[in-house]
């Protein structure tokens, strides 16, 4: 039987591709706005930039329903455990975008209060540069993430090792276990 004879529209493909396609097109971000960047994140979701064209306008308030955590803003030492908790509450598969230089590296606030890079607490997939990143930059980061999802493995769990580019047993990687993330008083 040739496909033309079928009554309904069909889509054929490998299951893996279809899963990735579906995942890519319906990433639901968790609202994790912290500082200035959060305002730009909101602007990205609003009229002019309109994230909904990527299937992303549903900012979920409960981490249990979200797949993407956009860490928008500076993460303080006090916030770090909370951030980790929210991340742990999210379901697999989950991704993290670190938005803005503060979340990525501490930015201009290299001091006692700010965690110097959110990647010390949670594994980050995409870093969006800028202070604040304009909504365009955020969208670029999101598209980069979509591309990663499209080309990645669907069964990958984060526990299963370090990112490939770091090699094995590289001590720089934050393991996926609930560690006490409060980094302590600087000496």
């Amino acid at each position: 039987m040739a496909l033309e004879d079928l009554q309904h529209n069909f889509l054929t493909g490998r299951i893996e591709d279809l899963v990735k396609w579906a995942r890519r097109a319906s990433v639901w971000p968790a609202t994790f706005g912290l500082a200035c960047c959060a305002i730009e994140m909101m602007a990205a979701g609003a009229a002019d930039y309109d994230l909904s064209r990527y299937g992303m306008e549903v900012f979920r308030n409960s981490p249990r329903q979200a797949d993407l955590m956009i860490v928008a803003g500076r993460v303080s030492q006090k916030m770090a455990p909370v951030l980790r908790q929210v991340y742990d509450q999210m379901m697999e598969p989950k991704w993290v975008i670190s938005m803005g230089v503060c979340a990525s590296t501490g930015g201009m606030f290299n001091n006692y209060a700010i965690v110097q890079g959110v990647d010390q607490i949670v594994p980050v997939d995409v870093y969006a540069p800028g202070c604040p990143p304009s909504p365009e930059t955020l969208m670029h980061a999101i598209l980069t993430l979509h591309e990663q999802i499209r080309t990645g493995e669907i069964m990958k769990r984060r526990e299963s090792g370090t990112p490939t580019h770091l090699g094995h047993d590289n001590g720089n990687w934050t393991p996926e276990v609930p560690v006490s993330v409060r980094l302590g008083t600087p000496k």
Partner: protein, 164 residues
């Protein structure tokens, strides 16, 4: 220029301040009475309370008669009717700084005094809730003190990551 309110405690030293109408220097003992006098004279609002650590500036210029201590508590009061501002600089002590809380007069200083405690370790006696406000509960030290490091983490530039 406003005068000190009548019935203000003896020996308060004043001068003209930048961007305020009157600058008072008070000791720990004079401080509560002085603030009360100002409150009775119509200064309804305590706009700001903050601490300053003068560790490296014990020889700062002060008017005659003021004994400099390491910590200062700076209070800004506002009279909304006459549109006047007053600033009080309290010499709060060197080793174990402690001043009276203004909570009874101005409940609005609650958070500001807690902040001064958190950042400088200045105690406010009779404050109802003397806890840290900005730092985590188990934090050690008071970060805005001058002998507390900035906590700068050296910046490392890593090589660019390879393809994922």
């Amino acid at each position: 220029m406003i005068a000190l309110p009548a019935r203000s405690p003896e020996g308060v030293i004043t001068s003209e301040g930048l961007a305020c109408d009157l600058l008072c220097f008070a000791t720990i003992e004079q401080y509560p009475k002085l603030v009360r006098a100002f409150k009775n004279a119509g200064f309804q609002m305590a706009i700001d309370v903050c601490g300053v650590d003068y560790l490296e500036q014990m020889d700062r210029p002060l008017p005659e008669g003021v004994v400099a201590t390491r910590f200062e508590v700076v209070v800004n009061l506002l009279n909304m009717v006459k549109k006047e501002r007053v600033r009080i600089r309290v010499q709060a002590g060197t080793d174990n700084p402690e001043v009276a809380s203004l909570f009874d007069l101005y409940p609005g200083v609650e958070a500001m005094e807690r902040e001064a405690y958190d950042m400088f370790g200045i105690l406010f006696s009779k404050h109802p809730d003397m806890t840290r406000i900005l730092m985590p509960e188990d934090w050690e030290g008071h970060p805005l003190r001058k002998d507390y490091g900035v906590g700068r983490v050296p910046v490392q530039f890593k090589e660019a990551p390879g393809p994922r």
